[in-house]
Symmetry: C2
Subunit: 192 residues, 2 copies
């Protein structure tokens, strides 16, 4: 149940910290998007955090790493306002989310909040280092990813403050014909 554990810790240690308002300094993720829209004078057609799940578990530092066509393509923009909290002895730990715009062949760029699922990225790095992390290298990766996604979707659904504010997006990065910007535009069209 390594995938189940990863999903619970990703939700409790991260999404539960950055999505809901804390009733004090931090207004919450969706309000953070609205502040960004007002400040930068842009529009986010979908005000959710897109969490990208890749087939290979590999995540590039910047999502532009998954651009494979001339159009549409992703470009990182100014980040959202930071969330700062004292956590487990670390003063002012910073949680930061990235905004991206999708440049299309025709029409205005489309703004979105997106990032990869960090626990999968970390797992990818662990699996590349089996001489150090021996025990974990026997795991069934597809099962772990499936458990991670199923558990995460369940936990998000059970949490009224996060339900509807974040969405998993599956991306087969091992298929050279698939372009992440297209996948994200399709997700946005489904929701709009």
């Amino acid at each position: 149940t390594y995938g189940v554990g990863m999903a619970c810790s990703f939700f409790e240690g991260y999404l539960a910290q950055i999505i809901p308002s804390d009733g004090a300094d931090f207004v919450g993720f969706q309000e953070n998007i609205e502040k960004y829209q007002n400040r930068e004078r842009v529009v986010f057609p979908v005000q959710k955090l897109f969490i990208i799940i890749t087939k290979s578990l590999y995540c590039p530092p910047n999502l532009k790493g998954f651009n494979r066509k001339k159009f549409p393509y992703l470009e990182a923009c100014q980040s959202f306002e930071d969330v700062k909290k004292d956590v487990a002895g670390v003063k002012n730990r910073i949680y930061r989310n990235s905004a991206y715009k999708i440049h299309r062949k025709e029409g205005q760029p489309v703004y979105i909040a997106a990032e990869c699922a960090t626990p999968l990225h970390t797992l990818h790095r662990v699996l590349k280092n089996c001489s150090v992390y021996g025990e974990l290298c026997d795991i069934n990766v597809d099962q772990v990813v499936e458990d991670f996604c199923t558990t995460l979707n369940t936990v998000i659904r059970k949490n009224p403050e996060c339900q509807g504010k974040c969405q998993l997006v599956y991306f087969d990065d091992t298929n050279p014909n698939v372009n992440l910007a297209d996948v994200l535009l399709q997700e946005i069209e489904k929701i709009e």
Copy 2:
């Protein structure tokens, strides 16, 4: 093997990012301590990151939460310089460590780099929420903590860039007669 997974992800996703130099902008944890010493004109008798493991898994936001005597006691100071990296689609993700000083009844305050082991803090929060995280609530907590510490110590030892630069400190926070500042001073004396 939930404890094993937590330790591998804590090392690969965090310690491996903040302890070694990256050969470019980030000089490495120990050099970061030296920069701090020069800038603030203070001395750290031990230039390691102390990672605190609590018996209850509970971690207060600020380590002063574990002060239980008049002296010695912990006070947070200026944080170390941030480590900034693009990670898994998040631009300029920030990793920040806290410096604390230990005020003693006699003598100068003692400076240290310390924080709790965040994965245990997250696990504590997960276990308090069993209605949401049902599956994980059956785990044997003592076994998980033991696996976490054993695996983490093994992985640190196998990694020449981190070996000797971070140290686990066990703190029985359920015992009202134990004061974290005393435990840390004893660890420092052992090492000096």
